[in-house]
Symmetry: C2
DNA sequence: TTGTAGGCGTTATCAA
DNA sequence: TTGATAACGCCTACAA
């Protein structure tokens, strides 16, 4: 009783307050369908009536009900974006950018984060699909089989980002993380460093970091440079650096880090231990986060072009969106390689 | 023609593929309402039937349609969270935390970011309300009048966070930023620094940063310490530090920064210019971001307890949620002060 | 505990 | 260009 009463009241209150399209129609002395049409295609309605509707909307403070709209249209204008973590600047940047781009196509962004768990991702995808989204954007290409099945069966447009794959669920936009690792290795090799290590964080979950480590290790080995890979279970942070360095089997001349945050930590730790950078220890990061160009010395890193990824993802979505697609809205490109930029700076 | 054909096809395809509750009901040989009931209150259905339904759902790969559900129930289980920026660690942390907490109450989070524009916020609120959200969470207390009206009229539960106010739209959770500024000032005063400055970023838009600056300045003046306030239009970043320092009328003994990111930039810049920290220049930040404890020297800062804010906000929402509320679901506390912690470290 | 009926606010189809 | 009408898939009284 205590529970149902307020609930009922709340519902009734909300319903009573809501101004519906019918109210607007009455006020403007037109039919509801005309109002609906005006809202969706203003140019299909005569100017006179359009203004009357406009006026009524303002007068009544009408707020459209997308829920009802989505039901009737069998699909909402929501795009569900699922990332490993919002705390990670790469992803929050991508999301920010994506949201802006999609808004231009009147698409709304629903963000979810998996904390690097494929199971959690599956749950989020399930929830996302319940909203009949215009598209689903996933990070990476490692998903549970159920996730893939769910998405494929459903037929919703899907974009996997930040990574490449031979077998996308639908479309993919990203670059090769192994190549990133190799590129850094080649830089170190060119500098003539005689030993190196990759300092990784959470690589069991973060497949992309693991890929970078693999590429780095392989290339180093190929050139006969002794190389170690050290790993930390905690998420990448400046604080992990000290631990990571302590876990090295033997001191090394150069380190490639999971990302710039870890690299910054290594820089601090070197400062603390009195190790000269890059004189005694060369450091490279990944991500080109804002501080990387500012630190002393500035960090050598790799710029993944989050904004280009976002732009391409938005393209992919729009290509599948009936309301936005310009041409035949056909099957756009399946996989897009955005590449990356190596940014050499003083730290390594 | 080129446009409508694919659109129509897509819609049909989607509809045809969709497994509805009726399908599940048929498969389980029960009525649709039983399925619905089971989904919402599993314990209200007999075990035998529950299992049959469960089985049918798995068999058919049924995905509930929240759009239809939301329409019928006159309200969705979406919480719209609107923050100034996701790039800012405070907010991405709060959002992350909030999302986790709300998920426990089967509430989904819809994130929007305003880029510090009240007009953009108004647009987002309008869009949010179109989804008949369970609640709307706003950052700060500075909104357009239209935003306030819209929200008040609509009757949706609202929580304003990260700031306190005498006149909340509905509920508010946060702390006094003026007090933060004063607290830092008192610390500097205690140390006996004879001059100081506040290095602010984007204070025209970021009212909270402006509040901290005001508190800092007032307290300094009250104690007769010469104080400057310098401002930068660009968003807070490590890169803004150099500019900010250059805009000082005269060198100062201590600086309070807009946040830790700027403080880190000042630290780097000092290092670059050969200024001893804290010997010649004391630095304080705001936010207690992860790197602040790791830098050399570690940064004096203020910890705002993003997670407590998130927890309180979640409480406020649940208190207004019929499905979650335990007691009379009445009007909970209106304004909650979460306070903050001053964290003295070596930099200042 | 389970089933029946009516409606939620909008869109899309068609006819006027 | 405008309007009537039938879904859209589910929820919620209420009845059984």
């Amino acid at each position: 009783m205590d529970q149902t009463e307020p609930a009922k009241a709340a519902r009734k209150r909300r319903k009573m307050q809501r101004v519906t399209m019918t109210d607007v129609a009455k006020h403007a002395d037109v039919s509801p369908s005309t109002v609906s049409l005006y809202l969706r295609k203003p140019e299909a309605v005569s100017e006179r009536i359009g203004q009357r509707v406009e006026h009524a909307i303002a007068e009544l403070g009408y707020v459209p009900n997308y829920v009802a709209g989505g039901l009737a249209a069998a699909g909402s204008r929501v795009v569900s974006v699922i990332v490993p973590s919002l705390r990670n600047a790469f992803f929050s940047d991508t999301v920010t950018e994506l949201e802006k781009l999609l808004a231009e196509s009147r698409l709304q962004t629903l963000v979810g984060h998996t904390e690097y768990s494929a199971t959690q991702e599956e749950a989020l995808v399930r929830a996302a699909l319940s909203w009949a989204p215009a598209a689903v954007v996933l990070t990476g290409t490692a998903h549970t089989q159920a996730t893939r099945d769910l998405l494929r069966r459903n037929g919703t447009p899907v974009v996997e980002m930040w990574e490449l794959t031979d077998d996308p669920i639908d479309q993919a936009v990203g670059f090769s993380h192994e190549d990133v690792g190799r590129r850094i290795a080649r830089h170190f090799i060119g500098k003539g460093y005689e030993s190196a290590a990759f300092l990784g964080a959470r690589m069991g979950d973060d497949k992309r970091a693991a890929d970078r480590a693999r590429g780095f290790e392989a290339e180093m080995r190929a050139y006969g440079v002794p190389v170690q890979v050290v790993e930390d279970h905690a998420p990448a942070s400046t604080g992990s650096a000290a631990r990571l360095l302590d876990n090295l089997d033997s001191p090394v001349r150069a380190v490639a880090c999971s990302n710039d945050t870890v690299a910054l930590g290594v820089l601090f730790e070197a400062q603390r231990r009195g190790i000269a950078v890059p004189g005694e220890l060369a450091i490279a990061g990944f991500g080109d986060l804002e501080f990387s160009a500012q630190s002393v010395p500035p960090l050598t890193t790799v710029r993944p072009s989050a904004s280009e990824i976002a732009a391409r993802v938005a393209d992919c979505i729009r290509a599948r969106d009936p309301l936005t697609a310009t041409s035949g809205a056909g099957e756009g490109p399946r996989v897009f390689d955005t590449g990356f930029t190596f940014v050499p700076r003083e730290s390594g």
